[in-house]
Symmetry: C2
Subunit: 156 residues, 2 copies
DNA sequence: GCGGGTGACTTGAAGCGTCAACTAAGGCCG
DNA sequence: CGGCCTTAGTTGACGCTTCAAGTCACCCGC
């Protein structure tokens, strides 16, 4: 198809490999810590965190899915499991029966509060405190540039 | 539990959120393109690529797992499926019966060669060509620093 | 040269994510 | 107000990853 492939130069390849490895390993580390210390996946943590920061500690499913960077389907499964564990409750919105509003329960809030310090410490240990403030700022710029390509709509 | 939690500052949090979102979304984009155009997952692609670059187009399972950043168990399942599809073959090493050597077949090599341009183009589109050379270099430095924390052994 | 330990995988079961239906409520338009 | 499209969410099946257990092969000491 069309033009010749522009293969990666040595330095481009090296950078890509480093990023690629990071993409594989970092999620694993974060999940591992949360799972071990709080029996939560990173995604479940984000769901609980999202709810806890919202007014009424509630959010409609679609908004929560966006916040946690997951599909609606994935969220639906996860919320069902969290509900079975007693961490979240669900009910239809009064004004629109199609909408489901999820709310974090007191038990869920307790779990989140217990999990947060360890999670933040892990993020600090592996990412934030490993980099200089300038590097962290640059990382944000870089990540945002890539994300703008990945999903152009949601760009700020 | 010792000291007070050091929560993230606003700018630290913003940077972390950007990275976190990147961690969620980039793998999806890469997997999607490979799956759609070549019926391969990113991991399967890495496995084939690793084999194709090695002497005799072969590698022992452990080394291949390291190359592709996956567990031995995961690799074993994936190689079994690739073998069923005719892209890879396996045999025990002559000098040590515990070791399994995987080899990419001609059919597998063809698939890889067909998949490579599209994959490289995707990597360029979303990452390499989105950043300046300086940013790319900085990204490599940053990723390597984090990786050094994540798994200190494998550091260069 | 044989029993116990270690190394290198392989396997099976369990859990999670994705995709493609499916359900059900709202809105619209004649 | 009755059909039809759209929106929001749920569900089930399938595939993949993980984790724990299992299988051989090699090695070491006695």
């Amino acid at each position: 198809m069309g033009s010749e492939t522009r293969w990666l130069e040595a330095d481009e390849l090296a950078a890509w490999k480093s990023l690629s490895t990071l993409l594989f390993k970092l999620p694993g580390v974060l999940d591992y810590q949360l799972q071990r210390d709080s029996a939560l996946s990173h995604f479940e943590y984000l769901v609980l965190a999202g709810l806890s920061e919202s007014p009424e500690r509630s959010l409609r499913m679609s908004d929560l899915a966006g916040f946690a960077n997951g599909s609606l389907s994935r969220l639906s499964h996860v919320v069902k499991r969290l509900e079975q564990r007693g961490f979240v409750s669900r009910r239809p919105a009064e004004d629109d029966g199609r909408i489901t509003v999820a709310t974090i329960t007191d038990a869920g809030y307790d779990v989140l509060v217990a999990a947060a310090p360890g999670h933040v410490a892990t993020v600090r240990e592996y990412v934030v405190d490993t980099l200089t403030p300038a590097q962290l700022a640059e990382l944000k710029t870089i990540a945002d540039q890539i994300l703008a390509k990945v999903d152009p709509d949601k760009a700020c």
